[in-house]
């Protein structure tokens, strides 16, 4: 089994928002997408995925609708709201700021 990288607090929200920016997706779709894109470095367990989805939905950043999945199963599809799109931009800027800051420190500039 691959070792999953621990996610920084709040990073999961950013990853979910980014995944949904392309198209609406259901829960496991989001998890699989993050795994694929990160080349299996990031494994999102359902135990953190669904609470995060609910949190974002309660915040009004994503909305959910029941639909039918590609293998004909009833599934809940999540998509970004208008607020969510703005939030994604904010979070990405914040992330850049943070990683740049950390990079600076690690390079001991």
């Amino acid at each position: 089994m691959k070792q999953s990288t621990d996610l920084l607090q709040g990073t999961l929200d950013l990853l979910i928002l980014k995944s949904l920016a392309l198209a609406p997706m259901h829960g496991w779709g989001i998890a699989e997408r993050i795994e694929q894109v990160s080349k299996d470095a990031l494994q999102i367990g359902q135990g953190s995925l669904y609470p995060a989805l609910h949190r974002l939905e309660y915040k009004g950043w994503i909305k959910a609708e029941w639909g039918v999945s590609e293998n004909n199963r009833r599934a809940k599809f999540y998509s970004l709201t208008q607020t969510g799109k703005k939030q994604l931009q904010t979070e990405m800027d914040e992330w850049d700021r943070l990683t740049n800051a950390i990079a600076l420190v690690l390079q001991r500039v």
Binding site: W28, Q46, R55, Y58, R73, R74, A75, K76, T81
Partner: protein
């Protein structure tokens, strides 16, 4: 921001059904099983592996619930409901508990009400709307309610027409009261003889001060508080006329003030006349050093504005009559303010 708030508000009212979350998770698990089967596993093993990889569902359901805004309110409501059911189940216990609480609260309220009226609540002066303070402001030194000297007070009192009575109080003193019983330190206020006329208050025993007792060398007389009367004289109805030795000077007690009387501040034990005769200063300085603060009762037909205008004129006249740097400075002004905004009660 607003959208976020509205969304939260909406979810507070309309909860997501738990089954919905359940179905979502189940759908995810089945997807995993199908993936395993597609990878060539026998159905049993596919199910087992998927379940292991998926992990506990209950914790996830719980964690999802806790994301909802105000989820803890549900817990509180559950607890309250449970408590209520329990109370209904044992009416005897409930009755005793409620009775105990009611009695406890009732008795405490009653005691507090009595204490407040008797001890804590300061006495209301009759017609407080006409009670004013004369406040001397020294603007360039940023001082309000600066004490002024006896010369200024006497001239003000002699000329002012706006007030039915104009009085003064001086600095508080700590004196040693001796005589019957242990000596004790008492708070003594220095007031002009007309102070009870201004405050429209009568002593509960004896009389108030006489004008001649306010003059230099007048009789040493003292009025005492109800509290001191009770504490030291055991509410003796014959206390008027008895001697009281204050800092080795023999005074005569002439009256007792009502309970809760708090002038110029609370916790005064005794009142004496001649407000400027502060014991900390030599007698030669009493007349010229600023020790007094003024208070007065407006005449019935005089408004606050009229009194202010008059006091302003008197202040200007005083400045002309006393052309020294302290008194004549135009930045020194005398104001008239209603008592509820200025006396420390």
């Amino acid at each position: 921001m607003l959208t976020e708030f509205l969304t939260r508000l909406r979810f507070l009212v309309t909860r997501k059904a738990p089954e919905e979350v359940d179905e979502e998770l189940r759908s995810h698990l089945e997807h995993l099983i199908e993936t395993n089967i597609a990878a060539g596993m026998p159905p049993d093993q596919a199910r087992r592996n998927a379940a292991i990889a998926f992990g506990g569902v209950e914790q996830t359901l719980e964690a999802c619930r806790e994301q909802a805004p105000g989820w803890f309110m549900d817990t509180v409501i559950h607890d309250a409901r449970f408590g209520f059911r329990m109370l209904r189940k044992s009416p005897g216990f409930t009755a005793v508990a409620i009775l105990t609480l009611a009695l406890g609260i009732g008795v405490n309220t009653a005691i507090f009400t009595v204490i407040r009226t008797v001890l804590l609540k300061p006495l209301e002066y009759p017609d407080p709307g006409r009670l004013v303070r004369l406040v001397l402001t020294v603007r360039h030194r940023n001082v309000t309610d600066q004490a002024f000297n006896e010369v200024r007070f006497d001239e003000m009192r002699a000329s002012a027409q706006s007030f039915s009575e104009l009085g003064a109080f001086g600095p508080l003193e700590n004196f040693t009261l001796s005589g019957a019983g242990e000596p004790e330190v008492v708070n003594v206020a220095r007031v002009s003889a007309n102070f009870l006329t201004i405050l429209a208050t009568d002593p509960i025993l004896g009389r108030s001060f006489l004008p001649e007792e306010d003059k230099r060398g007048g009789e040493p007389v003292v009025m005492i508080s109800s509290e001191l009367w009770r504490r030291r004289f055991n509410c003796d109805p014959q206390v008027v006329g008895k001697p009281a030795t204050i800092d080795a000077v023999p005074y005569t007690i002439i009256g007792v003030l009502p309970a809760g009387f708090a002038f110029p501040v609370a916790d005064v034990d005794m009142w004496v006349t001649r407000p400027s005769e502060w014991s900390a200063l030599p007698s030669g300085a009493w007349r010229t050093v600023g020790l007094l603060k003024g208070f007065a009762r407006l005449k019935a037909q005089v408004t606050l504005e009229e009194a202010r205008a008059e006091v302003k004129v008197l202040q200007r006249r005083y400045a002309i009559a006393h052309p020294n740097p302290n008194d004549a400075d135009p930045r020194v002004t005398m104001g008239v303010v209603p008592v509820e905004r200025s006396i420390g009660r």
